[in-house]
């Protein structure tokens, strides 16, 4: 990545994604956009707003509310040379398009023995907060990660998100880009101009020697925060932002666990059958002798996510939970952990549970 000539500004992940998509669309005339309300005043939370200032209207395609066919239409367009970016306002809407995604998008290259390519990006937003309820807040990355032929990425930080959006569009494979709505709000320094961030696996965003944490998307923000508190207690954790769920490349994690001997995974989705299960299973095999304790998995509990803020406490993992689990794993004195947790609470300044933490501002 060359940022030599580019300017750094503090913007949100949502804006960074818009910049990335705009840059890649300007550069590559094959890029086309599909969304419900593609050009409306909101334009998928502003993440694809203003495109028509840069590219022709015929490349900005309004989707009827028909997710299955429109996914197929995008796949068909991709097979004959376009690079469609499909944006869904919620992960759940893609449930209507699973057949097209799993059979056509993921398999067209394979089944055609490489004759076809499907350079397609499907953006799915994880809804959280403000009473979204069970059908507007699911993460479901495992469903896509299960499917060979798909790539699945979950950007977190603004700078990375912009570059990953570009890389996803440049990729010749179907890429499912799962974006957490609360990441959209996180702010940080982002270079202007065109650049790509390789879809090359997890990246360490915090260094430490006692514990390896692999977290994805919004959970990375919580994990880093926990790691920072942990440091004040004299322990340190390496936090990996997973970034790429499929293909799942864990070499860096193995190398880290070989040093720390301890692994924790933190999912934005369900803990059960979550991404963490695969990471733990692989790490146990690869780092069997190095492990000092059983790995810990954190994720959503085994039930849907209800709407009421009264029902939410305890559902979403947060820095406090991560800190407590890390404390147990590292045998830290419980009083000290609780004191650190209390500090986190204070930092949150009494904000309600269903809105994102203003703490997640860069520069990252």
């Amino acid at each position: 990545m060359s940022t030599a000539i580019s300017e750094l500004r503090t913007i949100s992940t949502g804006d960074a994604i818009r910049e990335g998509l705009t840059e890649v669309a300007i550069k590559n005339p094959s890029v086309i956009f599909f969304a419900e309300g593609v050009a409306d005043p909101s334009s998928v939370y502003g993440t694809i707003a203003g495109l028509s200032k840069h590219i022709g209207k015929e490349r900005i395609i309004e989707m009827p509310v028909a997710e299955n066919a429109l996914t197929g239409v995008a796949i068909g367009a991709a097979m004959v040379g376009k690079r469609p970016v499909l944006s869904f306002h919620r992960v759940e809407f893609a449930l209507l398009a699973m057949e097209q995604i799993v059979n056509n998008a993921a398999k067209a290259h394979y089944i055609s023995r490489g004759r076809h390519r499907v350079p397609l990006v499907i953006r799915l937003v994880v809804g959280r907060g403000w009473g979204q309820g069970p059908e507007h807040s699911q993460s479901l990355e495992t469903m896509f990660a299960l499917v060979p032929g798909l790539k699945v990425v979950m950007p977190t930080y603004p700078r990375d998100a912009k570059g990953m959006a570009v890389a996803a569009v440049e990729d010749d494979n179907p890429v499912i880009m799962i974006e957490h709505r609360w990441c959209h709000y996180a702010r940080g320094q982002v270079p202007s101009g065109y650049y790509a961030e390789a879809l090359d696996g997890p990246r360490a965003v915090h260094e430490g020697k006692d514990l390896t944490i692999v977290s994805s998307s919004y959970m990375t923000l919580e994990a880093v925060r926990a790691a920072e508190q942990l440091e004040k207690l004299g322990y340190s954790a390496t936090v990996f932002d997973l970034r790429v769920v499929r293909p799942l490349i864990l070499d860096r994690v193995f190398a880290s666990v070989a040093r720390t001997g301890r692994l924790m995974t933190v999912d934005t989705g369900f803990r059960k059958f979550g991404i963490g299960a695969e990471i733990v299973s692989e790490t146990v095999v690869n780092c069997y002798d190095a492990l000092k304790a059983a790995p810990v998995r954190i994720g959503l509990p085994d039930h849907p996510t209800p709407s009421s803020r009264g029902l939410i406490p305890g559902i979403y993992p947060d820095a406090a939970r991560i800190l407590r689990e890390a404390g147990t794993e590292l045998c830290v004195d419980q009083d000290r952990i609780e004191a650190a947790v209390a500090e986190l609470e204070v930092q949150r300044k009494g904000l309600p549970i269903d809105v994102p933490d203003p703490f997640f501002k860069g520069p990252f």
């Binding site: 309300g37 005043p41 009473g131 085994d302 039930h303 849907p304 709407s307 009421s308 029902l311």
Partner: protein
């Protein structure tokens, strides 16, 4: 129409009161939403009350209604209780489903409000399944799927229509065409043809009526219910109407420019409540003072219910893990 249904026909007065009550409830939601105590997305039907009321007044208590994200009016029109509705929107334990779903999931099975599902078109086949069960049991019941104009773009709508028509199931497919899906007008989503024709391929009876004329809606719905109930098959009902406020939220949003102020004002002039009032007035059937009194009583009931909902306790977090499995 048979005599039976005619004899059940509600009075214009009743229709007016039903619409008015829904309007007052939703206007109060709009007024109080900024307090940030109703912490869930809300989709108001202000301006669209005639469709909900006209259809539901053609139904029997045992008939079943299925709705969408925009379900307040349907819930109330089908006889759903106000307090559990508001408590649900406030996320309280006393909510009709204990705060699990909020505004987009209003449910009152005892009143025949079976389910509201916030995924576009997702509840349509549920209504068809209910009708199928009734056909198997020989039950004398009608199932109703309420949905918006965007729902007919979803494949599941056509699949459901095909199956219901094939089996002559007692379903009413009720399309409230408010011309928009969020900010996107019909013309950007569907080819030019009257919306009523969207089911032409499914050999289904179609009835349209002015969606802001509650009596016209009622007449069409009575005819449709009678048709479906007597085993002649499903009916597709189209009611053109208009959503006054923003798609999601309490405000007006014409300033955004996705629709013209002129269009809005034109529809606003066709307020279903004012239209009916004028009609009653011109035939001398409107007692303004009586209505004023009724309205004040309604508002008191509504304010009480809001107070109840606001003050009610939140559900205990421990409840979140209940009812995953029966």
């Amino acid at each position: 129409m048979t005599d039976l249904t005619v004899s059940q026909t509600p009075t214009a007065q009743k229709l007016l009161h039903e619409m008015l009550f829904i309007r007052l409830v939703e206007e109060t939601i709009a007024a109080r939403y900024a307090e940030q105590e109703m912490r869930c997305p809300i989709h108001l039907s202000v301006g669209q009350e005639a469709a909900a009321v006209g259809v539901c007044q053609a139904l029997r208590p045992a008939d079943r209604v299925f709705s969408t994200h925009r379900c307040h009016a349907h819930y109330l029109a089908k006889g759903g209780d106000l307090r559990p509705m508001l408590a649900e929107i406030y996320g309280k334990a006393a909510g009709c489903i204990g705060g699990r779903g909020g505004s987009m999931h209003l449910t009152d099975p005892e009143k025949g409000m079976i389910a509201s599902v916030p995924i576009v078109a997702s509840s349509i086949p549920l209504a068809v399944g209910s009708a199928l069960a009734d056909r198997i049991d020989g039950a004398d019941r009608v199932s109703v799927a309420f949905f918006g104009d965007a729902s007919v773009e979803e494949g599941v709508f056509h699949e459901s229509a095909n199956f219901a028509s094939l089996n002559k199931l007692p379903v009413l497919f009720v399309c409230e065409n408010n011309l928009y899906s969020v900010y996107t007008p019909l013309a950007q989503r569907q080819p030019a043809r009257p919306l009523a024709e969207v089911v032409s391929g499914h050999a289904m009876k179609v009835l349209s009526a002015d969606g802001n004329d509650v009596e016209a809606v009622l007449r069409a719905s009575l005819e449709a219910a009678e048709h479906a109930r007597s085993g002649k098959g499903p009916v597709f009902l189209v009611f053109n109407t208009y959503r006054w406020r923003e798609h999601c939220g309490p405000n007006f949003d014409n300033q955004l420019g996705y629709r013209t102020e002129a269009e809005y004002l034109e529809w606003r002039a066709r307020d279903p409540i004012e239209c009916l009032k004028s009609k009653l007035a011109s035939s001398g059937d409107l007692d303004e003072r009586d209505l004023q009194k009724t309205q004040e009583e309604m508002q008191r009931e509504i304010d009480d219910a809001f107070e109840f909902a606001r003050a009610a306790p939140l559900p205990d977090p421990s409840q979140a893990s209940q009812f995953v499995y029966a």
